[in-house]
């Protein structure tokens, strides 16, 4: 690494100042505030605020609603991650061979694959809408009653599909890049060694793709847990009957709608710890475990 020696002690700090200021104003300050508020409780009228120690956290542990939210979040995050990664890996594998044979069209071919899911994401809301949507209408024709406003499983299905769909193009691009980085000769050697296409995929391609897969796994879990607020808010609003009330949505709902700032802050501290844990796992594993 190249080292630059500053003779002036002030200059490096001046250069760093804008970045530090942004980090402080938009991250450290609100985070600190959330931690502080998680130890406070307002009275019912929002007039008096008192320090309650870990009571907010204890209340969370005792709350069946919060436990339900944890469970919903786990189901949701796992489903979104598996679905979006599974579909994009399938797409990437089928495109990979095409890309290898004709190099010129590489970028051109990737485009529609990358853009289509993003466009379609907007369409989901219309497609699934119980009153004006195409899908409920079509399902109704074959005798299936689609109504995610009332049916918890269907609601979960809807938010999982809509959230997964948004990630597919991202995952797809990473998987394609990962696949292209595996030398064709390895698969050819395996073909000569008597491994059929499926065997080749599981014995050679998939293990060699594991750094990409692991990276995407963490990215997708983080996305599903923290970045799907918009999808939930636009479609189910956590309902019906808390069936899609994932942790990040509950933070918003309890804080802004329910006005229970103390509990909401405690919940966001829990989320913060989860992000930190995932980041640690990411760095530890990417450097140590997932190598060959």
């Amino acid at each position: 690494m190249k080292r630059t020696i500053f003779s002036n002690q002030l200059l490096p700090w001046l250069l760093l100042a804008p970045q530090l200021a942004i980090t402080f104003i938009f991250f450290l300050w609100p985070a600190g505030q959330a931690i502080w508020q998680s130890f406070l409780r307002e009275d019912a009228f929002g007039i008096k605020t008192s320090f309650v120690g870990l009571a907010n956290f204890r209340a969370l542990v005792d709350s069946p609603e919060y436990m339900n939210s944890l469970q919903v979040t786990a189901v949701f995050a796992v489903s979104v991650t598996l679905l979006s990664m599974g579909v994009s890996l399938l797409m990437a594998v089928s495109v990979d061979r095409m890309l290898r044979s004709s190099r010129i069209y590489t970028t051109l071919l990737v485009w529609p694959y990358a853009v289509a899911p993003a466009v379609a994401g907007i369409l989901w809301w219309f497609i699934f809408n119980p009153t004006i949507g195409v899908l409920p209408y079509a399902l109704d024709l074959i005798g299936y009653d689609w109504n995610h406003i009332q049916n918890p499983n269907q609601a979960m299905g809807l938010v999982v599909i809509a959230s997964a769909w948004k990630q597919i193009s991202y995952n797809f691009l990473f998987f394609v890049a990962g696949l292209q980085a595996i030398p064709a000769s390895l698969r050819e050697a395996a073909a000569i060694d008597g491994a059929g296409p499926i065997r080749r995929f599981f014995d050679i391609t998939f293990p060699l793709l594991s750094p990409t897969t692991f990276f995407l796994l963490v990215v997708n879990i983080v996305y599903a847990m923290f970045d799907t607020f918009g999808v939930i808010d636009a479609t189910t609003e956590g309902g019906p009957a808390q069936a899609t009330n994932i942790m990040v949505y509950k933070v918003y709902f309890d804080g802004f709608v329910g006005q229970n700032i103390g509990s909401s802050a405690a919940q966001s501290v829990v989320l913060m710890l989860l992000v930190i844990a995932l980041t640690v796992v990411q760095f530890r594993w990417v450097e140590k475990k997932v190598e060959y």
Binding site: P183, E188, A189
Partner: protein, 335 residues
């Protein structure tokens, strides 16, 4: 063990590039054939067609008596050594060697026996539990060879297996491959662009140029009687002098030829020699000396003992039977 036959084989890539045109080769059982030619002449393409990694657009390839045009690589009973070795990076050396046998449901004891035998032959026993990235280039090369020999296939296919090694290691490995092939007696098809490697390894050489065969023959046949100006210039180092016949009309028997070929070592200095050479540059190689110059505008190179006297002009002579005559238009050899 098996013979390999290529009958009027041709290859056009999907883009329309014709890589191979009308190639005929009969490889006998146990023979070591080297495909040699300049970069881009289609050597890898031809080898990969035999391996089943490229489709065959014209003609027929047979391994043994079986036409394999439509047969999957796995079912051709061949093993291939790749230029980049293509070792499975996430498997240990042992797993790399065993993979092909495992896929063919070879019994465990048999796999162990063959892997250990191969490890012993190639002296890679102490690396069996390492991953390929913990091996040197030469050791990886051996593992790649090992993966081929444990399979005990009907034929070995090599695509420039030594080109990633340093010059010294290349010479050792070259000898080892030759010795191993003799010991196992497995039919081998070996691709290289290095004519020295080709000469030393081959039972017979196939010289390829722009997707077509220029000549097939033993190394000495090809060296002594190159079939065309292309082969004459490609095989032998330093390369044969190819001189326009009009520049040397005084040489006997060259009247009807277009090009006269004389190997540098066949040109000797003689006070009454008919060829007058203007010396331009001298390269000392230690054991011998290369002298570059020209005669009547045609570039020529000769080899000399390092102690022989030098001057600005040298008079040279060449024995009649050392002259190679080629047709002006086709470049083909004239007997």
């Amino acid at each position: 063990m098996a013979s390999i036959t290529l009958d009027n084989v041709g290859k056009v890539y999907p883009g329309g590039t014709r890589a191979i045109g009308d190639v005929n080769i009969q490889i006998a059982d146990g023979e070591f054939i080297v495909l040699v030619g300049p970069s881009g002449c289609g050597k890898s393409t031809l080898l990969r067609m035999v391996a089943g990694l490229e489709t065959i657009t014209d003609g027929e390839i047979r391994i043994g008596d079986k036409v394999v045009n439509k047969v999957e690589p796995a079912d051709r009973d061949i093993a291939m050594v790749f230029q980049n070795y293509a070792l499975y990076p996430h498997m240990s050396v042992r797993q790399n060697l065993a993979y092909g046998l495992k896929n063919r449901r070879t019994p465990k004891a048999e796999i162990d026996r063959r892997v250990n035998d191969a490890a012993e032959i190639l002296q890679i026993g102490q690396f069996l539990d390492r991953k390929p990235r913990a091996l040197s280039g030469g050791q990886r090369q051996r593992v790649a060879m090992g993966r081929a020999i444990v399979r005990e296939p009907a034929a070995f296919l090599f695509d420039e297996p030594l080109s990633n090694l340093d010059a010294k290691l290349r010479v050792t490995m070259r000898l080892e491959i030759k010795e191993l092939q003799k010991r196992l007696g497995t039919t081998s098809l070996y691709v290289t662009h290095d004519q020295l490697e080709a000469m030393t390894l081959a039972d017979r050489l196939v010289v390829l140029n722009a997707g077509r065969i220029e000549q097939i023959g033993t190394p000495l046949e090809v060296y002594r009687k190159p079939a065309s100006t292309f082969v004459a210039g490609f095989i032998g180092s330093p390369a044969m002098n190819l001189i326009d016949a009009r520049a040397v009309p005084y040489l006997p028997g060259t009247a009807h030829a277009g090009t006269v070929g004389i190997r540098p070592e066949d040109l000797t200095v003689a006070a009454d020699g008919p060829i007058e050479m203007q010396v331009q540059a001298v390269e000392e190689l230690g054991a011998q000396r290369l002298v570059h110059g020209h005669t009547a505008g045609e570039a020529i190179t000769i080899t000399m003992p390092p102690t022989a006297p030098l001057s600005d002009t040298l008079r040279l002579t060449a024995a009649q039977d050392k002259l190679h005559l080629f047709d002006r238009q086709s470049g083909a050899r004239i007997e």
